[in-house]
């Protein structure tokens, strides 16, 4: 019999981000997003930079994920991310500042060198954070009016 939920576990070297029973997960793989439902065939994939979405009940929640690996088992998904944050934890103002800084950096550096690569990585990171924060913030706000004030 197939399991009805997935045990989702997200860990980074620095902390244990999340462990929850969820109905569906979308993982930002290196080659594109992949959706996982309970009973998925076992799979290992490398992660890119993106947003991990998980569905619990009628709610969707978002996490940023930056590099790492994910293992999918029929009833369990383990995400070994290098960096991961929950949408609620993201400071949007700081991310916007980082975005601008990265853009300025890219404009200044010449394409292809180490500084440029660093800056474009920073830019990608900032963009993913912004997306997660706006989606997570707006989505959570609509479903849980109380939480939008925080």
């Amino acid at each position: 019999m197939l399991p009805e939920t997935i045990e989702l576990q997200v860990v980074t070297p620095e902390r244990h981000v999340l462990q929850e029973s969820v109905q569906a997960v979308e993982i930002p793989g290196k080659e594109g997003y992949l959706g996982v439902l309970p009973g998925h065939a076992p799979l290992i994939t490398e992660l890119g930079i993106g947003i991990l979405t998980y569905h619990k009940g009628s709610q969707a929640r978002y996490l940023t994920v930056i590099h790492g690996y994910a293992e999918v088992l029929p009833g369990r998904v383990i995400v070994l991310a290098e960096v991961s944050e929950r949408a609620e934890e993201i400071d949007l103002a700081r991310t916007l500042a980082a975005h601008e800084r990265a853009q300025a950096e890219i404009a200044r550096a010449s394409a292809g060198d180490a500084e440029w690569r660093q800056a474009s990585f920073a830019l990608q990171r900032a963009m993913v954070r912004q997306q997660a924060a706006t989606r997570g913030g707006a989505g959570a706000g609509a479903q849980e009016p109380g939480s939008s004030a925080s």
């Binding site: 070297p13 065939a41 690996y69 029929p74 369990r76």
Partner: protein, 302 residues
């Protein structure tokens, strides 16, 4: 003879020293808590990456990888972890003593040293060790980025054949009172670590049986499993380095806390002793004056 004023001065100076040691003890205690939290927070990742690595290894026909390659140990890299500051009891001395013993044992080989922590770097340089790389100001705030850098560096040196084995000499955090000196081999990665999937299956039976899943189902891959495996191994090495950095930092803060605690206590004892001495002298002075008055009065009335 010491006068009252001398005693007062001594007491005042000991008191201010005590204030400093007490403050340092509290700071170390706070940092220790943070470091300990870090050690605990890093465990799930280390456990999971090892599990994924093992299950990948079990599904592969050959697990050849530069980081697993064994060579006769001719050139050794020793990673020595110390603190950046002293005033932490025998913490740094112990590590350095162990490192020196290790160098002597391996003296027939070519030893290179990577020093993490200012104290170790300075001492080892002075003693003429071949310090090829150093990282300082790590233990104050251990983050994964530095572990990645160090892990990357030693992995690179090993893969390039610059060294044939990498050892770490460090203090392991057992509890607040006890640090355990460790000499651990970081590279080549012991194949037993990867092979013990079956042995470990007993432990992780809870996970396996819960989902009624045979331990060896074939994976779907987005890319060749070999590539994933080669990507995972360095991450595992980094996680190991990270663990060692965290352990050493926690041990350092614990050592500093205990050292400062006993220093504070010693200062209290010294203050008590000095106060007693001072009171005795004061009393002696008073008695002498009394005798003088009494005998003066006696001679006046006679």
């Amino acid at each position: 003879m010491a006068t009252l004023l001398d005693f007062r001065r001594r007491i005042r100076s000991v008191k201010s020293t005590q204030q400093i040691t007490r403050a340092m003890k509290f700071v170390a205690a706070a940092k220790l808590r943070r470091a300990q939290d870090g050690v605990f927070a890093a465990r799930p990742y280390a456990r999971e990456i090892l599990r994924v690595l093992r299950s990948a290894a079990a599904r592969m026909e050959s697990t050849a990888h530069p980081l697993l390659e064994r060579r006769p140990e001719e050139r050794i890299l020793a990673v020595v972890l110390t603190g950046d500051r002293s005033l932490c009891g025998a913490f740094n001395t112990n590590v350095l003593r162990r490192a020196t013993t290790f160098f002597r044992e391996q003296s027939s080989k070519n030893i290179q040293v990577m020093a993490i922590g200012k104290k170790g770097r300075d001492t080892l340089r002075k003693r003429g060790a071949n310090v090829v790389a150093d990282y300082i100001n790590v233990s104050a705030n251990v983050d994964y980025a530095i572990a990645k850098e160090i892990g990357g560096k030693i992995g690179e040196m090993y893969a390039a054949g610059e060294v044939d084995a990498v050892y770490a000499v460090y203090n392991e955090f057992k509890n607040v009172m006890v640090q355990r000196l460790c000499t651990a081999k970081l590279l080549p990665i012991d194949p037993a670590v990867l092979a013990s999937e079956t042995a470990e299956a007993g432990q992780s039976a809870a996970i396996g049986t819960e989902h009624e899943e045979a331990p060896l189902v074939d994976y779907l891959y987005e890319e060749p499993l070999g590539d994933i495996f080669s990507g995972l191994l360095p991450r595992y090495l980094e996680a190991e380095v990270f663990r060692i950095l965290l352990e050493s930092a926690a041990a350092e803060h614990a050592a500093r806390m205990t050292a400062m605690d006993s220093a504070t206590r010693n200062a209290s004892e010294l203050i008590d002793k000095l106060t007693l001495e001072m009171n005795k002298i004061r009393q002696a002075g008073i008695t002498k004056e009394l005798i003088e008055i009494v005998s003066g009065a006696a001679s006046a009335t006679s």
